[in-house]
Every structure is written in structure tokens, then in C-alpha cells.
């Protein structure tokens, strides 16, 4: 489960898209175009494929927990699509010269929807709650990195301290995972937040009015809302009176509900249906791209024969990624060239087309590495042993986005160069045990977050499983230096250089084979206006309104 939830999913920040960007972005045309005067009132029905186990973003790592919480809780800062940070609940902030402390000046006019005032003590209560071990936070706490504590400087000034310089914090603070609940809600109902509903009180543009597990989440407009971030398109209360999320796990049901007009928005839609839906007159398709680490195949550099770089490169160049992705996803998903998604800050465009499919080169490299024999199955051998790679699979994760079909295509490609890739379906316990012990050759993962610091959790030698996602078990001094330096500095130019180094290096030494760039195919009725997406590819509901009817 968790792979399914976490990997393809946006574990991360949810923040606002800038007004300018939403207005200029032609790709968000049709349904998103904010033409005409916004209408106040009405209900938006939004079909989504999954429910959250736990609806509290402080505890749950699920992307959908952050998605449901985003309209309910506000954050200290807001992020635009270019990665620029704007004020929100904090009016301004300063970073200490050593990069180990952030001091936020807070808005003085914010009240939570239960009437409690927002102040420095509320921020401290929330951050302490996330960091407390009894909260068992599976994700939010990790966003704090080397967290040391939060101090109330004065009623509207708060200081967050770290034991080391920690540049990714502002991005983290913009996410719903570090969203601010009413301190009264935390004091009275911390143990009930997982179950959602009216106990989850924030200061957001909507309040959490109803939750029926496995069926629906209902949000109602907060009429007193007057502290929208500058990244939003309007100020004051939200346009919609009610937002109803309908949980429809079955693809065809979600699709039918959209095409028959029973829901206004449906997400995600299967790639096979995207074109049909886009061609329907009263519907349009949006394809916001997920940031962070793309869906990739990680090559375990510690496990023979993949400890030989020549074998790894042979694998990397022996998979026809472009053709496979195009055929399986009907051209709706782009193939990836870097372990980072193109919308992530510090993405290195120069990697594109730099490592094309080259089975002849693969064959030559495998010959050089001594895998020259052939057995009855047509596979390469060395000293009588077949070139076999184990690639553990989780059936739940495989079913997602037809990854099982992609795996078959990859297996077929590898067979052509004489490599056998076994992809046995495992239960979560066995899979975790193998993954954590490094008892595998290949592992497929993705991790959405609008922050190149994901490269640290995937390739820094300190992030080996189970502590991180370094499934390549890479131990490279240069990569360690770059990822640590990137985390310690807020200077965008320095970070771009560091992260470009990492992206090139991990491709050059073939620690990873990036496969496709995840996106979310969202079907939208043309009745819906003003829908935009934040840097994490999640819909923003604050600016949405319904046309007529």
C-alpha cells in the first residue's frame, strides 16, 4: 500500500499558483480560463479515486490527506509555480546568517473558524505537535529535517530552529503537511484528527463539515476568510458555497460520472480515455505535471552484477523508454530524462536526449563485462550463470498507471539484450524486508515533492533504506557533497549547480533509469471556472466558481 500511496503520489507541498501564471498559462485554457465575473455560491462535485486512511496531514504521508486538508488549513508561506515563496500567515521572515533559524512575523488579523486567534503560540503548538513522537508523524515530521524547536519570540513573532542549516524548510512550510490547526483543536481532539470532520479546525477558506468514510468529504465556505495569499487570484471568502469530494475508486465509474454530468471534475482519468474526454464539447482535459522524482527504475549499485557500471549502463541504454511509454500511455505521459521532474526547481534540461536507446552499445558493454555466453533461453551467461536481475513488485503499486504493462515492456526490451528481469509480485512484508536489506537488483519508485532536495533522499549515502529511498545504495562522495550543499543553501544559483551535478552524475554512472514523468489527467466540466493547479499538481479550489446553472 504505502508504495502505491507514497510513490506515485504527491507527498508534498500544496501551495498556491500565482495569479500571473494562471492567467498566462495557455495549457490551463478551457475550463480554467477565468472569464466573466465569478459567481458566488453553488456546489462543486469533485470525483477522486482514493480515500485517505488518516485525514490528518500532520500524521499521514498520503497525498490525498494533504489534498483534502489544503482548503481547511493555511500555511505560514505560499509557493508559486516557479518556486518563489510568498507571505501567507507570515507577513515576512528572516533566515539567520548560519541558516539554522527562521524567524517569522505573523499576521495579526487571522482567526481560526472556531473563533480562536492565530498567533505565535498557535504556530508553536502545531510544530511541536508534528514533531512529538506520540504523533507518529510518518511524513510531516520528516519535512522538518534537523528540527530543534520552535520559540515564541513575542505574540506575533515565532522562531523555528534547526541543528543544521536547512534550506528546504520554506518549501516544507508552504505545504498542507505543515498547515496550522486551531490550537484548541489540537488540545481537545488531537486523537480524532485522523477521522476528519468538523474537529479539524483551521483558518482556511473552507471548513471541514462532513466526512463519510469511503464515500465523501464535504467542505463548506468560511465566510470570514480575509487572508488569502498573494498567489491566489482573488481576496476574501471563496466563491463556492460547498465542495463535495466523491470517492469513486473504479475508473469507469469516475469517467461515466463525469461524462454524464453527475460530477464537475474527475481525477485521475485513465490515459486511454483522455483523448475522448478532451474531444467532448462540454469537457476539457488538464494535465498538471507532478514535481519531484519521476517514476524511475533504481539500479542497486551494491548488488552483483550491477556493481559493474558497464552492466548498469547496458541496462539503462537497453530499455526503449521512449517507445514503451508512448505506446502504453497513449502519448499522455512524457518519458523522463532526469530523475527530477521537469517542473521541479533545478531541473537540468541538458539531460534531454543525452542517453538514447542504444541496444548495440548495451551488447558491446555486456560483452566487455564478460557476459558473453548464451544459454538455451537466449540469455547471456558468464561462467555458466545466467544474467538474471530480480525486480520485486508490489501488486497494488503495479496496478497503478498500468505500471505492470510497462514492466512487461521493459522485461521484453531487456530480453532482447540477453538480460532476464524477474518481476515477482510480493506481499508488503516481504517486499519491505527485501527493499530494506538491499536484496534486489532493480526497484521502481517515484516521489512527488516540489523541491530538488528529493535527490538527497534518493541518492545521498546517508539515505539508505530503511531511513530513506536510496534504493541504488549509492555511495558517491561527489553526490553526497552536492546534495548536502544543496540542502544547506538557499542560494538558487548554487543549488542549480549542485543539483545539475547530481542529475548528470547519477545518469552517467547509471544508478537510475528515469522512465516517465507522472502527471494527473484531470477531466473538467466547462461549467467550472477558475480552476488552477499548484506546483504539486493539485487543484486549487479557493478561486473556483461555477458558471450559471
Amino acid at each position: 500500500m504505502s508504495t502505491q500511496r507514497k510513490t506515485g503520489t504527491a507527498i508534498a507541498a500544496v501551495a498556491s499558483l500565482s495569479l500571473v501564471l494562471a492567467a498566462c498559462d495557455s495549457s490551463s485554457g478551457g475550463a480554467s480560463g477565468a472569464t466573466g465575473n465569478p459567481v458566488t455560491g453553488g456546489t462543486l462535485t469533485y470525483a477522486i479515486n482514493t480515500d485517505a486512511d488518516c485525514l490528518d496531514p500532520h500524521q499521514s504521508p498520503a497525498d490525498v490527506a494533504g489534498f483534502f486538508a489544503r482548503p481547511i488549513v493555511d500555511s505560514l508561506v505560499s509557493l508559486d509555480a516557479a518556486g518563489k515563496i510568498y507571505p501567507w500567515l507570515a507577513t515576512s521572515w528572516t533566515t539567520s546568517p548560519d541558516g539554522k533559524a527562521y524567524t517569522f512575523s505573523l499576521r495579526t488579523d487571522v482567526t481560526f473558524s472556531d473563533g480562536e486567534p492565530f498567533d505565535a503560540a498557535a504556530v508553536k503548538a502545531n510544530f511541536d505537535h508534528i514533531a512529538a513522537k506520540t504523533t507518529k508523524s510518518q511524513y510531516a515530521a520528516s519535512l522538518f529535517g534537523p528540527y530543534a524547536g520552535t520559540d515564541v519570540v513575542d505574540p506575533y513573532t515565532v522562531k523555528v530552529r534547526f541543528t543544521q542549516p536547512f534550506a528546504p524548510f520554506l518549501q516544507a512550510a508552504s505545504t498542507a503537511y505543515l498547515g496550522i490547526y486551531s490550537p484548541k483543536a489540537l488540545a481537545d481532539n488531537a486523537d480524532k484528527l485522523c477521522a476528519g470532520g468538523p474537529v479539524a479546525v483551521g483558518s482556511g477558506p473552507f471548513t471541514f463539515t462532513g466526512y463519510t468514510k469511503g464515500q465523501s468529504v464535504v467542505l463548506t465556505r468560511n465566510p470570514g476568510y480575509a487572508w488569502a495569499p498573494p498567489t491566489a487570484q482573488h481576496t476574501g471568502p471563496a466563491h463556492l458555497q460547498t465542495v463535495t469530494f466523491r470517492i469513486l475508486p473504479e475508473n469507469s465509474t469516475r469517467l461515466g460520472a463525469l461524462t454524464s454530468g453527475q460530477v464537475d471534475v474527475a481525477k485521475p482519468l485513465p490515459p486511454a480515455n483522455a483523448k475522448t474526454v478532451g474531444d467532448t464539447p462540454n469537457l476539457s482535459i488538464e494535465r498538471p505535471v507532478s514535481p519531484g522524482s519521476v517514476y524511475s527504475l533504481y539500479l542497486n549499485t551494491r548488488s552483483a552484477p550491477l556493481d559493474d557500471q558497464r552492466v548498469r549502463t547496458a541496462i539503462q541504454r537497453g530499455i526503449d523508454v521512449g517507445a514503451d511509454v508512448k505506446a502504453i500511455y497513449f502519448g499522455q505521459l512524457d518519458r523522463a530524462w532526469s530523475p527530477l521532474s521537469p517542473v521541479t526547481p533545478a531541473y537540468d534540461k541538458t539531460l534531454e536526449n543525452s542517453w538514447p536507446y542504444d541496444p548495440a552499445k548495451s551488447a558491446q558493454l555486456l560483452d566487455e563485462a564478460g557476459w558473453t555466453g548464451r544459454d538455451a533461453g537466449g540469455y547471456r551467461t558468464k561462467d555458466g550463470r545466467r544474467l538474471t536481475l530480480s525486480w520485486p513488485s508490489l501488486p497494488a503499486g503495479d496496478a497503478k498507471e498500468s505500471r505492470d504493462v510497462l514492466a512487461q515492456a521493459i522485461q521484453a526490451d531487456l530480453k532482447k539484450i540477453g538480460v532476464e528481469a524477474q518481476h515477482p509480485p510480493l506481499d508488503v512484508g516481504t517486499y519491505s524486508a527485501k527493499a530494506n536489506a538491499g536484496d534486489f537488483h532493480l526497484l521502481d519508485l517515484s516521489w512527488a515533492r516540489f523541491e530538488p532536495d528529493v535527490l538527497r533522499s534518493f541518492f545521498n549515502s546517508a539515505s539508505g533504506p530503511p531511513k530513506g529511498q536510496n534504493a541504488s545504495f549509492l555511495k558517491d562522495p561527489e553526490v553526497d557533497t552536492w546534495t548536502n550543499a544543496g540542502a544547506a543553501t538557499a542560494d538558487e544559483r548554487l543549488r542549480a549547480v549542485d543539483y545539475a551535478g547530481v542529475q548528470h552524475k547519477v545518469i552517467d554512472i547509471a544508478a537510475v533509469v528515469p522512465l516517465y514523468v507522472p502527471n494527473r489527467i484531470v477531466g473538467v466540466s466547462k461549467r467550472v471556472k477558475g480552476l488552477s493547479f499548484d506546483p504539486n499538481a493539485w487543484s486549487l479550489l479557493y478561486d473556483v466558481w461555477r458558471d450559471g446553472q
Binding site: S2, K136, Q138, Y139, S216, L248, D427, V428
Partner: protein, 328 residues
Amino acid sequence: MTAKIGGERLVLPLRASRRTRAVAKRVLAAVAVMWGAATLAFIALHLLPGDPVARLLGPMTSASETVRAQIEHDFGFDQPVVVQYLRYLGNLVHGDLGESYQLQQPVAKLIADQLWPTVQLALAAVAIAAVIALVSAVVTAGRPVLRAATSVWELVAVSTPSYWVGILLLTVFSFQLRIFPVAGGEDLAALVLPAVTLALSIAGVLSQVLREGLETALTQPFAITARARGLSQTGVRLRHALRHALLPVVTLMGWLTGTLLGGVVPVETVFGRPGVGSLVLHAVTSNDMPLVMGVVLLSALVFVLISTVVDLLYPLIDPRLRTQGASG
């Protein structure tokens, strides 16, 4: 007079104690079944490979060492298995099914919250299935042409997966004709399509069994006698043959109702309905073992209850069983 009273005095306590004993036997058997189910579920849980904390968190998590330790402590994974088992049984006796790993709520509350939509769906489905089966079997029994025609739909209904039937019904009646809403548990209109979907496959089985029984009964001498007495064909079928044929159908219906707990899973998924089915699907896919064990216990309880109801129904349907029941 005195003798009669004395006789009654003698008989009553005897009957009462016999009944008490019968009830006690039933309760004991029920407890044994529940204990067995609980123990099997516990053993199965501990036979699962891998570390329980890793299973709970899933692979490649960002949870820290501290969080792992806290989880281990909170769920008692650091205790010896025997202690965990005894604690689990002790909690069960007090009606505490434990706390869900993933949803972080008491399992009993989660199941209680999700039970009603499933019960609603199951009862509606069984009722629809019973009506369809009854009409179909009574009308077609012993009539070759009709029989052949209905056999076809029965076979199709039994062998078509319910999620497929559900999608078909949705496409026609919701997406195209827009008679019923796509999904939900809100009102009666939203119950129709899922209930029919679930009912069709059950109806197919019931109808086949019922017709078989009816046909056997109709060839019996009593049926001919009844006809000779001047009863109409339909009268014989409804008043005499049906009663004979009903016994195996009631048994089968009881069993089918029990299996509905699993049968609702695809239907609840397709129609996006809340309920125990979607809860159990979620629990299994997210390795939420306390919740899985809770549902195992629930299904054991459902089977115990249903078999009791079925046993109570037998003597009502077949008078011959009443005397046997009294002496046994």
C-alpha cells in the same frame, strides 16, 4: 385436576431446563466459533513475513527511527507473542477489537459506522434475489420451454462477475438514461443499482435450486393427490410443492447471505458506496491487520447468527421438524 397440575409442574421445569441446555449449547458453540476465528486470525497475522512495523509503514517510508519505536511500543509489538495473544483475547472479551493501524481509530467503531450501509445493501439484494428466484422457479418448473429460456439467464447471471454487471447497469441506467445516480449511499435511488447487481448472481443460484426442488416435489404422489382433489396447478405449486422445495433454498440463502460480506466488495467499489466491503478492501491492501481481524470476527458472528436464524426457520417451514426438535 391435581394430577394434571402436578403433571404440568413436572413437565415445565423439564422443558425449561431442556431449552436452557439447548440455548447454552448454542451459545457455547458460538463462543467456540468466535474464539477459533479470533485465534486463527491472530496466528495468520503472526505468520505474515516481515517486521510488523515495516509492514504497517510500507516500504520506502520517510518515518524516523523515533516514530518506528513509538509505533512498536503503542501496538505492543515489543511484547512476547503469548503476551500479545492473551492481551488480544482479554480485549476481545471486553468488546475491544483494538485500534486500526492505518486509520488510528477503534476497530469496533469503524466497523459499526460502516455496517449499516452494507446491511442495507445485503438485505435489499437478498430480498430482490428471493423474489426473482421465486417467480422464476415457480413459473418455469416442469415447463421445458420456459425452463430452457430461464436457465440461460441464470447461467449468465451466475457466471458474470458482479463488477462487470455493475458497470453495465451504471452505463445504461445512470450514464445513458440517467434514471439513477451514479453512486452513493445517500438515498433509496442510489441503493437500487448496487442491490440489483448483487441480487442477480444470487437469484441465479437460488432459482436453479428452487426449481430443482419444485420439480422433484411435483412428481411426488402428494402433488398428484392434491391435483386430484381439484387444486389448480398454481395452487399445488405454491401451497404444497414450494414448501418442500424451500428447505434447501433457505439453507443456501443463509449461506449466501453470509458470503455477501465478501460479495459486496466489488459492488461497493464500483458504486463508490461506503460499507464493510470497502473497509475490508482498504484494510487488506493497507495491511491494517487489526481491522482485518475485526472483519474476520464480524463474519464469524454473521455466520453464527445466520445459522441460528436458519435453524429457527426450519420447523416453521417443515412441520415434521417440530416434533423432532422437541425430542432432540
